[in-house]
Symmetry: D2
Amino acid sequence: MTSALPDRLPEGAFRARRLIRFSHCDPAGIVYFPVYFDMFNGLIEDWFSQCLGIDYASWILGQRRGMPIVHAECDFARPSRMGETLTLGIMVERIGRSSLSLRFLGEHEPTGEVRLAGRLVTVATSLETQRAMEIPDDLRAALERYREQCRESAHG
Amino acid sequence: MTSALPDRLPEGAFRARRLIRFSHCDPAGIVYFPVYFDMFNGLIEDWFSQCLGIDYASWILGQRRGMPIVHAECDFARPSRMGETLTLGIMVERIGRSSLSLRFLGEHEPTGEVRLAGRLVTVATSLETQRAMEIPDDLRAALERYREQCRESAHG
Amino acid sequence: MTSALPDRLPEGAFRARRLIRFSHCDPAGIVYFPVYFDMFNGLIEDWFSQCLGIDYASWILGQRRGMPIVHAECDFARPSRMGETLTLGIMVERIGRSSLSLRFLGEHEPTGEVRLAGRLVTVATSLETQRAMEIPDDLRAALERYREQCRESAHG
Amino acid sequence: MTSALPDRLPEGAFRARRLIRFSHCDPAGIVYFPVYFDMFNGLIEDWFSQCLGIDYASWILGQRRGMPIVHAECDFARPSRMGETLTLGIMVERIGRSSLSLRFLGEHEPTGEVRLAGRLVTVATSLETQRAMEIPDDLRAALERYREQCRESAHG
């Protein structure tokens, strides 16, 4: 599965910088690996709000929709340490009826060295019924536009 | 990769019970998924100390060895909620020269329903040189005994 | 305020043992201080369920009551490290109309050295109205019994 | 002690904006209180690097100095929720021989409503000897300049 993970971010991909903090690191001095999954979740929030044009908090709290994670994985190619900065990027891998597969890449700044490559699969869920629901049209359209934008930039 | 994850724990597998706490859960009321990876790491500690006969803290702090995670994955079959109890179990999948692949299963107690199935791959590392090292003989022997113990119980 | 914090647990106080894990510690090798506040919250859960006879999860999720923290404080007398075990204990300081002040003490096991002494003040809240409510009678009675039990043991 | 906590940030105080994320919140939908202490620690890092001109990571990792917290407290005046933004500010309360007392204020943006007011006391420590050390001259000078800058702006 490692080979299927991306080795660089397309130009059009949404990115955010993350400073590695003291609190992210363990007694061995490197980022404690579950922290990266938390960073992926935060990146989804920023991507929704800043790129897809969907307010993540309203989507969850107002419309009572959930995005539970049904699969998570990550390859950690190299450790990162306090004081370093990572650029995290997000890509759409697959848009299903109710599921969504996302890929993540973390590059060291400024060298561009790939530090980690991950994947999350989430399922759109109604918090009222606790059941999977179809990905709503507005989100689906935004996801497809985003995927196209990444593709074009990758082949540009 | 989902299909390769185990669907039940062999009798001989090391297990620990984990109460799902308020602090493990998110605004949707279910365990925030990175918490499970933290639980896997804690389970490794308990398994070393209580089952393999190796004091985890001394191993890390005293002998300056590390066990950085190079791959992590998990399938979350069903969500868990505050007040529920999970039984987490650990299995040895592969013992390499310096790498070790472990599998994890989380079952709801008392129904036995599988809630999650994960995998961590770690590499024995010298904290002095920051390089991979061969898995030390005492750990290797303990791992092989444990794997045998799980196998026998599975086929018993 | 330091002087007002207790310097030993009365015999009758509810206690729980906590192993200090790798994930609790920071790059300086000691417990990252917010972790202690998380431990206090977990101790309240155990105390409700195991000592006061009130199922914490049902109380929150079923009856839609909350216990938001309005004040938190802790003195950290000495650091703790991976592999050490702390005994955490809880005491009732004050039972108000809707507020409850609790004290916490953390002792190293087996030396009994006091490592930390904390206080949390919480307010019983209806999650429906988001407003403070009177502490329900069943909880108040359990809290008063517990306080008495600690007092008697302290003067025994 | 509540009354001694500040009720507004002086103009000259260092500030940072923090988006309240899904992962910061608990099943009651509000920020889980230990998260605020983690935010305070992160604010100290940003303040060192962006305001005091001292690279926090080098200070800890390179010069092997620590800043363990010996006292932490916070009043939580009002809860905060996913999607809200807080402005966190920091003030120097007291500069001792080796100890440093800092105050924190968290205001809701854009209303300015005070949501929380905290205090951390830390002690400069040599990670080599694990003993308190005098606050180094460069840090002391930077702290005194900062305190002056806050005072002037407060009385301006």
